[in-house]
Symmetry: C2
Subunit: 339 residues, 2 copies
């Protein structure tokens, strides 16, 4: 698998010229007369990831024709919203590292991170206003509202050991799936795609986002050098995620696991290792991966109905690739779990 170019890289290659233009628009958007604002936002651009969200907007639009200016505005807005929520999340979670770099709250303090996040939201808003396609603003506004509510839900509930699967899913949606959904849907709207086609893109984004978030939550318990996430981050913060929910349902003796997530419980490195071993052997990993693949399947089938093109072919491969990564890195899963 390693010798083949992965579909995310393929998509980036297909959209290379468009992504360069988008990066230019993004940089212009981040400029500010206030020099400290520029300094903080430059750091964020450097620390920025693969820009998968704006890439999905461009890809969704390009499924139906040549690049339209509004895709750039919306793609930039999507990336700015994503970055703003990360800034505020790092304050809320008191994080100190993201993708191997010190977080803004560590470098400039919590106050600056709160205000810089607000600045990014305001720039996202300006960028959206520049788009003239009818209806895209409402899609983005509704997405943002769901994201903001979900953040509160996460803060209030994610550290409770009795967190149920539905609430976990609602949190995963607002953390990742809602923005993926909007990113894809507005791409279709900008292209003038039909209501049904936009709905398929919406479903693609949402289910890909869920597979993405579940995979991220699995990685927490399967340390991997290649992924860039600090192992055990959720565990040590006491965040209840899918592996814990599955474990509580499937394991026979859950008393010890429950005790680790009681208020004020102390979680040691030894506890973490024991949990990881338990999850790998007890079918927890398999069950989580199965679930991630089931969302990936829905995503793949949604985009498969859209007009064929090299971009669509690559978009079809992305959901399974995202989940297969976790399988490859963690090794402990039988291949029968793959859809």
């Amino acid at each position: 698998m390693k010798s083949v170019i992965d579909p995310l890289t393929q998509l980036h290659t297909l959209l290379n010229a468009n992504m360069k233009t988008l990066n230019g628009v993004l940089l212009t958007c981040l400029k500010s007369e206030v020099s400290l604002v520029s300094k903080v936002t430059e750091h964020l651009v450097k620390a920025g990831g693969k820009r998968i969200r704006p890439m999905l907007t461009l890809a969704s639009q390009r499924l139906f024709g040549e690049l339209k200016q509004d895709s750039l505005y919306l793609g930039v807005a999507v990336e700015l919203i994503h970055t703003a929520t990360l800034l505020h999340d790092d304050v809320v979670d008191n994080s100190n590292l993201r993708r191997g770099l010190e977080t803004a709250n560590i470098l400039w303090g919590n106050s600056m991170s709160v205000l810089a996040g607000d600045f990014l939201f305001s720039r996202a808003f300006q960028s959206m206003v520049a788009a003239e396609t009818k209806g895209v603003m409402k899609v983005m506004a509704d997405a943002l509202a769901l994201i903001a509510e979900g953040e509160v839900l996460q803060l209030a509930q994610s550290q409770q050991i009795n967190l149920d699967y539905d609430t976990y899913l609602r949190i995963a949606e607002s953390k990742t799936a809602v923005l993926f959904d909007a990113a894809c849907k507005v791409g279709g709207m900008i292209a003038g795609a039909s209501v049904d086609q936009c709905q398929l893109l919406s479903s693609y984004g949402r289910n890909l986002g869920l597979a993405f978030q579940i995979t991220d939550d699995i990685f927490d318990y399967f340390p991997s050098d290649n992924y860039g996430k600090k192992p055990g981050e959720d565990f040590f913060e006491g965040k209840v995620t899918l592996p814990i929910i599955v474990a509580l349902k499937t394991l026979v003796d859950t008393k010890w696991l429950k005790s680790l997530f009681e208020p004020n419980a102390i979680r040691t490195q030894a506890d973490f290792k024991r949990v990881c071993t338990l999850f790998a052997g007890g079918g927890v990993f398999d069950a989580c991966v199965d679930l991630a693949f089931s969302f990936a399947k829905v995503a793949r089938e949604a985009v498969a109905v859209l007009p064929p093109s090299p971009i669509r072919n690559v978009m079809e491969q992305i959901p399974n690739y995202v989940v297969a990564r976790v399988v490859e890195h963690c090794m402990a899963v039988p291949f029968s779990a793959q859809a």
Copy 2:
């Protein structure tokens, strides 16, 4: 003066039915499936002030005819943006009281305040999207960007003793004047007023906002029971505001005053009393009030050109009233300072 009904109350009476409708829309906007969100936002509504900003939107629109639905959406958006920035400000300033009630960051923690602020921004955004008047979104987006940049500027610079008048004014604009400006301007746009008329409303809002902010900054050094602001708040936080800037320019011996705003300087109640006495007697108060009246005059003259009506008459009186309040409460000023 006390026996006469003040113009803010008069305006509220004139717009009473519209304001009731607006409050209903505001409450609907704050509803959330996530119960903690509702709890926090309910507290904010209770702690809410006089809703002067949405009242200005309604008044500006009603200058040109009957109420339009878009005014409600925009007025609500303006109030939500105002409340969201207060929530984030209280986190940044580590405040514990606002209008006599404990702040949200004290009641629910900083994390919840950051996320509840984001929720309010997202609802503001949804409310704006509901409006169909062309161009209002851009006015609001640009205002929000200026506000967010100004907040960073304030965080970076307001505690520096060499803060100059221009930077002070830029901070005062983003703290108050920019949103007052947008609140009034979009009212005119919704009503279908001419570009010139909208520009006059913009000028009215901006200059009223500046007079409002300067007055607020004066009050910090002139304790008053009737104003609801804790005396010396800016002083004890080490924030350099207009009275300090004026004092440094006009007083002969400024060494002691400067030393109070050095990094890590300790400011005692005795220091505060001494500064207050110095300001009252040394012409500092007079100079600040003069400046506030000069902005009030520009605001009054801008609105005076618009079509006459009971609402316009009251709008004309508001700027001077806002500044006269400080004169009345603080007493130490000669009446010649009034414009």
